[in-house]
Symmetry: C2
DNA sequence: TTATTTTTTTCGATGTCCGAAAAAAAGTTG
DNA sequence: CAACTTTTTTTCGGACATCGAAAAAAATAA
């Protein structure tokens, strides 16, 4: 219900239209929520009078101050934090730096807790006003266990995230893969277009995937599904950062492109390749002026991508694939190769009824996905357990409800 | 509710335990169902008295005659039909032959309708007693459209199945992939073990896959997902029956094994390879006596399988993979290769927390899956739409309810 | 016969939803 | 400006699924 309220302030009758509930039910529910202080009436006499007869509609909106959530994105050397209110509006963001090379399972959780504490202090908020914390990290993330198994953002392995945060703050906390959050953000931004079964492939520093299956985010049995980048492409092929050979990532990510364009051998260790932030841009520039090596590297990568998507289509059959990530800035040079790969790898029968979109990359998607997901859980906290009880406003919230 | 009743005749109190409903609710529901004639009391005075005090439990069972469903399996040159009653017991099966080479979209539907008609007549049933028809076919099957896009069982392409049956009989009809039905049967036979997210890979005449994701059968956006066999393994690799090169199937199915063991070139057309029913057995016999070619063929196939499973694990992360199909009789000779493939293709992080089972192949699984699925839909027909109305027993059933 | 035990049923009560009617709050009209 | 029309919101009673507690039923044990 709240989710639908995210179409801006609405009158009860419109709520009924969105949710397909009867006006009677809408009144019942909204009056409960009003009593709980989660929503509030709005009486703006100014922009009224849409020249209508009848009783004027009285708009309802979420009470922005009812709760507040934090979205956290951990990437190499930086943490992006954002604070959003109950209406889903981000009102404060901050980017801090940390030393990825030194971060391990012992020191990182404390660092994170401190960062959040100072962030909330800066916002003038009390810690226990935060009801949800959503964390997204690059790499192999285990949702169920709430820990980052491996990530380029850390030196160590198996860094616990959820548990330390859960202890330090009185808030729900969940950890996800960054591409999953893009997927969530897309569904949130356009539920009609991005619904049912679709996949998001992000080509960037690494290669990640998010899957939306049958209208919900899919995470796999242990919560670390969709490791598209480390699905094998060629047995014994190019050396990947993960140590194995032939992963998709070893042909698509920035270091792979640099390696390929520089005619370095396939088994060159990714660590020895200098593929900084500008490397991809430089390569694109080269391609633009017709550099044969660069063009070939992109074309080859495109073909690999085509093969990867073909395997995805064969196994999952999504109706839509969205390509994004910094790597997609070079899509123009990869497109032909990608289609060739799809054509080579996929029977005609399976090569129908789907579309491939390229979406310009925007880091903000991850933040939006985090907030969207946090909001969803927030609503569940309030409506799900269904403890309307008296009209007691409880500050301690969900932990007790779980006991 | 009915689904739980498939644990045999139960007393109301046990029903409550299974369904976690209170005894009061159980009574309410069962008395409704009794009135509708879907279940019936059973008073067997014979095997009573489990030496207990108290009011004796009165057992309830499904009324076997309440409805009746047909399961159909279409494979090369044969159609297997089975009739099951409301209790899910198959009481008649029949196998008929037809000419796959001559079957196309024009003649096959009629053939199928006639086959079903004579089958029901033979069972002494009236056509309209059949409430559900479940069809499973090998090959690329499009659930949503209810048609077989391509199958080794037909010469033509895009054979409509659901629509002609729906017209000819007053019954729901759904079409599925045969491996999906094995998946369904496994979940049905042991819901605890086969739940959540697991995959079934069947290596047989072709290579198929069924996916159970988040506790339900996954069919993809257009209903033709899980074409594991035609996911690419090696770009430009061995020639597959589908015309493409490098499909998994081109390394794993019977013709592929024969081709590999006979040292035929990889681009030998599958049509020119004589890989009949006995071919695989012969190859296994050879392996048994230590034939190097046969052993190598199996070991190589095992490795391909390992790579394929690795890709599946990376993308979907199932907690369990079940291997079955005739091809798995040679598993002993493939196992080492498979593990090597997994090891080569999959990062350690992803190579944990899952199990691979081999299940002896039994064609009956498909029948059981078909019936299980038909039963599930049957229960939905009765309980779902929720038109308890008066106690009118309607013969025309769901078509009217849908209007 | 009375007590005990176990299963089943009955009897409210709660929570979610709906439809119909009533109430509220405007604008329109003569 | 009073009476009518229109639109939104609320109130009211009812349907339905579920539960807990108590009562009833049907057996054995003492």
């Amino acid at each position: 219900m709240q989710t639908l309220r995210r179409n801006g302030p609405l009158a009860r009758i419109d709520l009924g239209k969105f949710t397909k509930l009867s006006p009677a039910t809408v009144t019942a529910i909204t009056s409960d929520l009003l009593a709980q202080g989660l929503i509030e009436g709005i009486e703006s006499d100014e922009p009224k009078a849409p020249l209508s007869r009848g009783r004027p509609r009285s708009l309802l909106r979420l009470n922005p101050d009812a709760a507040c959530v934090i979205g956290l994105r951990i990437s190499v050397n930086t943490i992006d934090m954002s604070l959003a209110n109950f209406a889903g509006e981000t009102f404060l963001t901050q980017r801090i730096s940390f030393d990825s090379a030194a971060a391990d399972r012992h020191n990182f959780p404390d660092l994170l807790v401190e960062a959040i504490k100072s962030f909330t202090k800066q916002a003038g908020l009390d810690q226990n006003q935060i009801k949800e914390i959503g964390v997204a990290a690059q790499g192999v993330v285990e949702l169920n266990a709430g820990m980052v198994v491996w990530s380029p953002a850390f030196n160590g392995r198996e860094i616990p995230i959820v548990e330390p945060l859960q202890c330090a703050f009185d808030a729900h906390c969940i950890l996800s893969n960054d591409t999953n959050m893009i997927t969530e953000a897309l569904h949130w931004s356009d539920p009609t277009k991005y619904s049912g079964t679709f996949a998001v492939v992000m080509v960037d520093y690494g290669v990640g995937m998010g899957l939306y299956l049958d209208n919900q985010l899919f995470a796999g049995a242990s919560g670390k599904a969709a490791e598209f980048g480390h699905a094998n492409h060629i047995p014994g092929g190019a050396l990947c950062r993960c140590g194995k050979r032939g992963c998709m990532e070893a042909y698509l990510s920035d270091y792979a492109l640099v390696r390929s364009a520089s005619d370095l051998p396939e088994d060159t260790d990714p660590k020895d390749i200098s593929a900084g932030a500008g490397a991809l841009e430089a390569l694109i520039e080269k391609a633009k002026i017709g550099d044969a090596n660069a063009l070939k590297a992109f074309a080859d990568a495109g073909k690999v991508l085509g093969y990867g998507l073909a395997r995805l289509l064969a196994m999952i059959d999504p109706k839509r694939i969205v390509l994004t990530g910094a790597g997609m800035r070079a899509f123009d040079y990869m497109e032909a190769g990608m289609h060739a790969g799809l054509e080579e790898a996929l029977v005609t029968d399976l090569r129908q009824n789907f579309s491939i979109d390229v979406m310009p990359w925007n880091e903000d998607f991850i933040r939006r996905g985090l907030i969207a997901q946090a909001m969803e859980r927030l609503d569940q906290d309030y409506t799900g357990p269904g403890i309307p009880q008296a009209s007691v406003q409880r500050q301690d919230g969900e932990t007790e409800a779980l006991a």
